[in-house]
Amino acid sequence: AQTVTQSQPEMSVQEAETVTLSCTYDTSESDYYLFWYKQPPSRQMILVIRQEAYKQQNATENRFSVNFQKAAKSFSLKISDSQLGDAAMYFCAYRSESYQFYFGTGTSLTVIP
């Protein structure tokens, strides 16, 4: 089975600074998708960004970008110009060829004013 590992239970960043959240995964599949979700205290899971494994170009959504290293099975999330509203739990997720989703254990991000 696929596994997703987030090795940073907690991270903090100064407002307006940049922070990188780490995620690694283990799979033998070649066709899969990777996602980052944000879960604020309101608890709704919100999609932040997605990456197709067959694409070499890293996905970017405004202040959010990923560093996808397929050979290393690494999928980190970079948040630039951090804002107070970015404070949340961030989950890395893997979608398999059979459409199963696997979530990491999450990273709690604190933004310091």
């Binding site: 608890r43 709704q44 899971m45 999609l47 989950f91 997720a93 979608r95 459409y99 199963q100 989703f101």
Partner: protein, 115 residues
């Protein structure tokens, strides 16, 4: 993206009772999922509910404890049966398109507390 309504948003129940959680989607979707999330922890998949077939349960979850219905492409229910304090958790419904890079979209969750 799909809009998902989940009811109830929270409930407090007595030990030994059962509660049914409803998940309504504003569009037809192929795949619906039910997750459990303990406070401060990640999501654990309970089962995948596909219309027209029995739900597929993950290891550690059984149909007698978590019966699921999926009568059509826009609706599903999860029942938590014979509840105990260990069932206190957030239960999340999510949906996903079948193809391509479709993400999962989530409801707001149901916070369940068992006394």
């Amino acid at each position: 993206s799909a809009v998902i309504s989940q009811k109830p948003s929270r409930d407090i129940c007595q030990r030994g009772t059962s509660l049914t959680i409803q998940c309504q989607v504003d569009s037809q979707v192929t795949m619906m999922f039910w997750y459990r999330q303990q406070p401060g922890q990640s999501l654990t998949l309970i089962a995948t509910a596909n219309q027209g077939s029995e739900a597929t349960y993950e290891s550690g979850f059984v149909i007698d404890k978590f019966p699921i219905s999926r009568p059509n492409l826009t609706f599903s229910t999860l029942t938590v049966s014979n509840m105990s304090p260990e069932d206190s958790s957030i239960y999340l419904c999510s949906v996903s398109g079948a193809g391509g890079n479709q993400p999962q979209h989530f409801g707001d969750g149901t916070r369940l507390s068992i006394l």
